[in-house]
């Protein structure tokens, strides 16, 4: 059994580090409905961690707990070795947790470049006054941030649409722009809410490649939600499986695939 602080090598030669985030006994209720029931799991540095489950399993709720959009009634979130107090989403973002949304939340009126630049906001330190005067430090900072943004735009192969207003882009590209914006924050943990939802096979393959490349190139820790089993199994190092708000499986893709409870949840089981 691995310890919290241990590292290990994967079969393809990547290093998975110690635990960076741990969810302890999280319970989330909406009125009388329990969306998440006493779930615990951890995320290790540098890994691709998937949360899967059928529709309504509570996956998105879990992601929203991690990113601070929901505050669980019970349980603790541990981040970088200390317990995280209840936080607003923007404070979570400033701690280095970036996310995308299932239904895409981009700034539709802004260009792709502007959208990606908003991802850099947490890295801009110069005060209001200096910014307004647009001199010296502020200028240098803007240039440095611009370079990071351009690098990510190149990386995700969206140079051609840099100056296009996002509202004009097709769905698949919007998803990619959202990934670029999240990535621009150079996050400690990148949360992807159904990155492949609504895509055709080709787009799914592209997105899978980008996710793997991001993890490989920048060493970014990625936690993603998906209900397409096949895609997830190829991508991730470890998988949490949820069903009706409960955790029914946790482990490597192979372990999860052979878990009877998981098979039942996905294929249905005869009750007699």
């Amino acid at each position: 059994m691995l310890d919290q602080t241990d590292s290990y090598q994967t079969a393809d030669g990547r290093t998975i580090g110690p635990v960076v985030m741990e969810m302890k006994n999280i319970t989330l209720r909406f009125g009388g409905v329990e969306a998440i029931k006493d779930i615990s799991f951890d995320i290790r540095e540098g890994e691709i961690r998937a949360i899967i489950g059928p529709n309504g399993a509570g996956k998105s709720s879990m992601l929203n707990v991690i990113s601070g959009f929901y505050v669980p009634q019970e349980g603790e979130v541990w981040y970088k070795g200390s317990r995280r107090p209840a936080m607003k989403p923007f404070q979570v973002a400033r701690q280095g947790i970036a996310r995308t949304f299932q239904n895409i939340a981009l700034f539709e009126g802004m260009t792709v470049l502007d959208n990606v630049m908003t991802g850099r906001l947490t890295h801009m330190e110069t005060g209001l006054f200096a910014q307004s005067l647009w001199k010296g430090k502020a200028e240098a900072e803007e240039i440095a941030n611009r370079e990071v943004a351009e690098k990510i735009i190149d990386f995700l192969e969206i140079q051609a649409i840099r100056k296009t207003p996002v509202a004009r882009l097709p769905y698949g590209l919007k998803k990619r722009v959202e990934l670029a914006r999240a990535l621009a924050a150079e996050p400690t943990i990148l949360l992807l809410d159904e990155p492949m939802a609504g895509m055709n096979v080709e787009e799914k393959e592209d997105m899978s490649r980008f996710i793997l490349d991001v993890n490989d190139e920048f060493g970014t820790t990625i936690a993603l939600i998906e209900h397409d089993m096949g895609v997830v199994m190829d991508l991730s190092d470890r998988v949490v499986v949820m069903d009706y708000g409960k955790k029914i499986g946790d482990g490597t893709p192979d372990e999860v695939r052979n878990n009877q409870e998981v098979i039942d949840a996905y294929l249905g089981v005869a009750h007699d």
Binding site: A98, F101, A105, F107, Q131, W134, A185
Partner: protein, 335 residues
């Protein structure tokens, strides 16, 4: 030059100048509406409040003098000093920022996610509350606002004379435009340029646009909605101050000043509620439209006084054909 034509052009120019003032008020509305979806009915009262605060500080009035005297049986009215205009404007800006913070902290923070009509109602309440506070703080009498009271006349004088002379020599007809109008136009131009640069090129400006576009997405990139809303109300307060100074200098600081908010409505219908350039262009169209209509049609055929209703009629006609305004975001519903 044809006398009638020259006179029409002069009316046109004066209309432009009046339009600048309308645009200034409309600008305050747009800033808040864009960032928070709140139609701020109190914008006019904010202009009044700002102008009264400015005059009060300038004249060394003791704020809440009436209240203090009633409670403590004292008889204080003035500090007996006179504050330099520049310092007074700076102090008023601080007051407006404090006001912005309080509005967000005590009212709108608790109304996040409510229906637009609820937010609108809250601003009506705010408007009358603020009017009461302004009254209580500075007294209700008509005050003259002279930004340059203590320093002599510091508006650059003679611009109108120069303009009249130059145009007379060049065109054979001297155009007369009020000095104050010229200054107001320059101030408005600088203000708008400043706002656009701020929104386009600074961190806070980028965050502001982000909030205006999508709250959820803004949160996810680490933008504090609360901070941005205080910022936006502060900016609207600053714009209100500028509008208050211009209108106050023109017609004195009195409670009817708050009614200029109503004049901004047709401007917004024309320009769209979400567009800064729209507010400017809309203001100019309304200003020019009502002056020209009065001059060419109203006065000769309709018995005059058309300026009272023309703007609203124009806006109504406009609404029928282009509900989102000239520059407003077109609403496209996906089916």
């Amino acid at each position: 030059m044809n006398e009638q034509l020259a006179f029409t052009i002069e009316v046109f120019l004066n209309g432009l100048m009046a339009g600048v003032l309308y645009a200034l008020v409309a600008l305050g509305f747009v800033l808040i509406y864009k960032a928070s979806g709140i139609f701020n009915y109190a914008q006019g009262v904010m202009a009044l409040f700002a102008a009264m605060t400015l005059v009060g500080i300038q004249n060394g009035q003791v704020p809440f003098a009436h209240l203090i005297n009633a409670i403590f049986g004292t008889d204080v009215h003035k500090f007996g000093w006179h504050v330099h205009s520049f310092a007074a404007i700076l102090l008023t800006v601080i007051v407006m920022i404090a006001l912005a913070w309080m509005v967000q902290q005590f009212v709108f923070k608790h109304l996040v996610g409510q229906e637009p009509i609820i937010l609108f109602m809250a601003t009506i309440g705010l408007a009358y509350f603020l009017e009461g506070v302004a009254d209580l703080m500075w007294g209700s009498e008509l005050k003259a606002l002279n930004v340059c009271a203590s320093e002599g006349n510091c508006l650059p004088q003679g611009m109108n004379v120069w303009l009249e002379g130059t145009t007379y020599e060049a065109l054979g007809y001297g155009f007369f435009i009020d000095n104050l109008d010229i200054v107001a136009s320059i101030v408005a131009a600088v203000l708008v340029a400043g706002l656009v640069i701020f929104a386009q090129y600074t961190k806070q400006g980028r965050a502001m646009r982000a909030v205006a576009d999508d709250h959820q997405a803004a949160l996810s990139v680490g933008v504090s909605l609360n901070f941005i809303w205080v910022l936006v109300w502060s900016l609207a307060g600053f714009v209100a101050l500028v509008a208050g100074i211009m209108w106050g200098a023109k017609s004195g600081v009195q409670f009817s000043l708050s009614l200029i908010a109503l004049k901004a409505l047709p401007v917004l219908m024309l320009g769209g509620f979400t567009s800064i350039p729209g507010a400017i262009i809309g203001g100019l169209i309304i200003g020019v439209g009502e002056k020209l209509f009065e001059f060419l049609i109203g006065a000769p055929f309709l018995g005059g006084a058309t300026e009272n209703w023309f703007a609203y009629m124009l806006a109504l006609v406009f609404l029928v054909f282009r509900p989102q305004g000239l520059f407003g975001e077109k609403i496209i519903e996906r089916v």
